[in-house]
């Protein structure tokens, strides 16, 4: 069983919070789910959409057809037309001027949403509650107690009367729809609860990232609002204080990242989060952090580029940039987690890596992963026990031996003396410097310093690289990263079921240092290799060859700002299966 529910209307009508309540209710009923949000800026009036796809099995990708559509206006029908099938139940208000539906083949459930809302609560905005009730009634066996809890939580501050009124509005919609089904002899959708008893969470990528940072002991966060990374700044402003840290909104991104560098130089774990245009502004500072060997974490929640590009749409077009940004020979660790759980774990690890190697670490994500919620593995105490804070060669004590901040060492990593340590002069500079941090242009020191920095990642082995097989003896490998990895997996499981084709799914997580040996190992013996990417160039595929990949491959890519549909990906992968390179 799997269903898709969608609510669509104007920005400012409460679409987003209604979608969240529905998603949480579905989750509380024991299902796995994925969401898809479409939004414009804050401005009232643009169309917004919240889709929830749920099943007893893991779901990630978006599918084309809807089972339930709540349409608040004509525009909602217009943008959803291609998603409506003859069995889609469309909930709408005849009073809202929707005329376009006449020609559409579907089940039309007309409810006086605004009238019911106004009659009961006195305000039309409660049409959200009425339509939520009606849409939940369409699923036989769906418990709605979470919605009731939410109504209490949201409105009890106002008055018990408002709580009661909203519950009534919900139930009125619920009963209306139940009656509609029985009057018209339409069978409700059957839902069978997932009963495996495994604890799960529901989380967005940005939430996973922010919580991972807090768990890792991030004490300073600086950011500047930008879609789709603003929710991280908002989360930090609200929560970091409870963990002994501070979050600062700076006057721009240059300031944000440089203040993060300042905080790290002083000795605390620090990070920033941004998206494309802001990331571009941070480039010089990332080079400075590399040169001064300052551990910092930068999250780039990608959106469509270049320039302002597609501020509210998804893309993975900053991969090449992340690896190669900055003038001069620089290195940074680049990590692209694939789901909210990994976001948590690898953000935690990002802080360890940054301090272990004394380097900038870039975490890549995108709008589709960052701003949508997915069911994920449960984060419990045992995970937190397993993840250990490792501050590397951090020195905040008076050492017995003579130490220099940029001392030449075998592994290239020097002791990270923080400025307050007694008896040691602290000095750092973006200029080339000697072991003490004093500026120098001496050629032999320069050469040794470059080589010292380059030794740091020479034996890097923290790749978090994974691959898994769907079916036995696969001859087809698919390389994917980010949330697309899970889209691909869902599709491959399905192709395997229907066509018997086996797949090897390859998931690079650390993209720099590039895991070329791991990749070649996983791809060995494959007849057919497909990269699936959300950018024009096929940026990971280019990296694969740039770093010496020997296998031939083909590319499936998308760069229109929308995530892959399950059906399209299914089709594309099938086509590539039989078109040998």
């Amino acid at each position: 069983m799997q269903y898709v529910w969608k609510i669509s209307g104007e920005q400012g009508e409460g679409i987003d919070s209604t979608g969240h309540i529905f998603a949480m209710n579905v989750f509380r009923n024991g299902f796995e789910l994925a969401t898809y949000r479409k939004y414009s800026s804050r401005i009232k009036g643009g169309n917004t959409t919240f889709e929830v796809r749920f099943s007893e099995n893991p779901v990630f990708a978006r599918v084309k057809k809807l089972d339930v559509l709540i349409a608040f206006d004509e525009n909602a029908i217009l943008v959803s037309k291609e998603q409506i099938k003859s069995s889609t139940i469309v909930i709408f208000d005849e009073q809202s001027g929707i005329t376009d539906l006449d020609k559409v083949d579907c089940i039309k459930l007309a409810i006086p949403l605004s009238k019911i809302a106004r009659d009961i609560t006195g305000t039309a905005i409660s049409k959200n509650m009425v339509s939520l009730g009606a849409s939940i009634a369409l699923f036989d066996g769906m418990d709605y107690s979470y919605v009731m809890d939410q109504i209490e939580k949201r409105f009890s501050k106002k008055s018990m009367e408002i709580v009661e009124k909203n519950k009534r509005a919900f139930l009125e919609g619920y009963n209306f729809a139940k009656k509609f089904l029985s009057d018209n002899s339409i069978l409700p959708y059957k839902v069978v609860k997932g009963k495996d008893g495994v604890k799960r969470m529901i989380m967005s990528g940005n939430e996973g990232l922010a919580m991972g940072a807090l768990a890792a002991g991030c004490k300073y966060f600086a950011g500047y609002p930008i879609t789709p990374a603003s929710s991280i700044l908002e989360f930090m402003v609200k929560n970091i204080g409870n963990f002994g840290g501070v979050a600062v909104q700076t006057e721009d991104e240059i300031s944000a990242i440089n203040s993060v560098i300042g905080a790290s130089l002083a000795g605390v774990r620090a990070m920033t989060a941004t998206s494309g245009p802001g990331f571009s502004l941070m480039v010089e500072a990332i080079g400075y952090a590399y040169m001064t060997e300052t551990p910092i974490v930068i999250a780039n929640i990608q959106r469509g580029g270049p320039s302002t590009g597609l501020p509210t749409k998804t893309e993975d077009g900053d991969i090449l940039m992340s690896l190669f940004l900055g003038h001069g020979d620089t290195e940074k660790i680049v990590i692209f987690p694939s789901n909210p759980y990994e976001m948590f774990v690898y953000t935690f690890q990002a802080f360890n890596l940054a301090e272990k190697y004394q380097l900038p670490v870039i975490i890549l994500s995108d709008l589709q992963l960052g701003e949508n919620v997915y069911t994920t593995k449960y984060i419990d105490d045992s995970l937190l026990d397993e993840l250990k804070v490792d501050r590397g060669k951090y020195v905040d004590y008076e050492p017995n031996e003579r130490l220099y901040r940029y001392q030449f060492t075998e592994d290239g990593i020097s002791y990270r003396i923080i400025p307050s340590v007694k008896g040691l002069q602290f000095q750092t500079s973006g200029n080339e410097h000697n072991e003490k941090g004093f500026i120098t242009e001496n050629s032999s020191i320069r050469k040794k310093m470059v080589e010292k920095r380059m030794r740091k990642l020479a034996n890097f082995n923290d790749y978090f690289f994974e691959f898994e097989d769907i079916g036995s003896n696969p001859k087809v490998a698919i390389v994917a990263y980010g949330i697309n990895y899970h889209f691909v997996k869902e599709v491959c499981v399905e192709i395997n079921k229907s066509e018997g084709v086996s797949f090897r799914l390859v998931k690079p997580v650390v993209l720099y240092p590039f895991p070329i040996e791991k990749m070649e190992g996983a791809l060995e013996g494959m007849d057919n290799i497909i990269f699936v990417e959300q950018n024009y160039f096929g940026q990971l595929r280019r990296l694969y060859y740039m770093f010496g990949g020997k296998n031939k491959s083909v590319l499936i890519n998308k760069y229109d700002g929308e995530p892959f549909f399950f059906e399209d990906l299914y089709q594309s992968i099938k086509e590539k299966l039989y078109s040998k390179v």
């Binding site: 400012g12 804050r42 609002p225 908002e234 302002t308």
Partner: protein
Amino acid sequence: MTSIKQLPYEEYFLAGNGSCPGCGLTIGLRNVLKALGKNVYMVVPASCSSVVQSPFPNSSATVPLLNTPFAASAAAASGMVRALKIMGKDAVVMVWAGDGGTFDIGLATVSGAAERNEDLLYICYDNEAYMNTGGHRSSATPLGTFTGTTPTGKRENKKNVPLIMAAHGIPYVATASIAFVTDLYDKIMKAKDMKGFRYIQIYSPCTPGWLLPTEKSVESAKLAVQTGIYPLFEIEGGIFKISAPSKAYLKKEKRKPLHDYFKIQGRFKHLKEEHIKLIEQWIDQMNEEYAALDGKKIF
């Protein structure tokens, strides 16, 4: 002073644009363009303005329009105005930027262009926060205000950018409001014929951002002047002059209670009496200072 009836009928910023009902910036832009006419190049950084101007498939602007990166408008306009001179074209180059693009990320380029006295008309429409990204604080956000990144109320006071601009020694600085359209119109007309860098800051309510009912947008702008929280003034050739709409409210006893202004806006709902007292003290002090400056050469 121009009367409402004397405002031109011509429209250069058209109806049907993508802004929210009650949006202050579009009222401002509509009247600014009435004053400037057709011979103007408009330079706009990332902001609500850059979104509302062209909802696909139309554009509501009828003058040449250059959308720039967020931090860059004053710089892009500088290049433009110099090029127009080289090409022998005579036109007004106007930057139309939000408070975020002016007070925060853009301040360095604004200051740079002012210091070079570039021949620009720089207009900042001030809705006191980053609205386009969903309502986050800017340094134009007043003390105590709720935003997405100041959930318990902003701790810092509003930055006084008009005075900072005046300190550059530029020919003209003014504050204006969308509630006093003729005053705004006259200020634009005056600035239009001047040479060099001119800075005008327009108070522009934002209905969703301020949690303000649609129909109260102009009312709140009026109250901002009447409560003395947003005094209107000009600094011409370094001489400070309180504008007519604000004149009466320099006196504390004439000012309307701050409460009238706060109560219609959700962004101030959480404020306690003691906070309001504090803000009142600040308003008193500012108005006293402005009264003392009135008519004097300050830069």
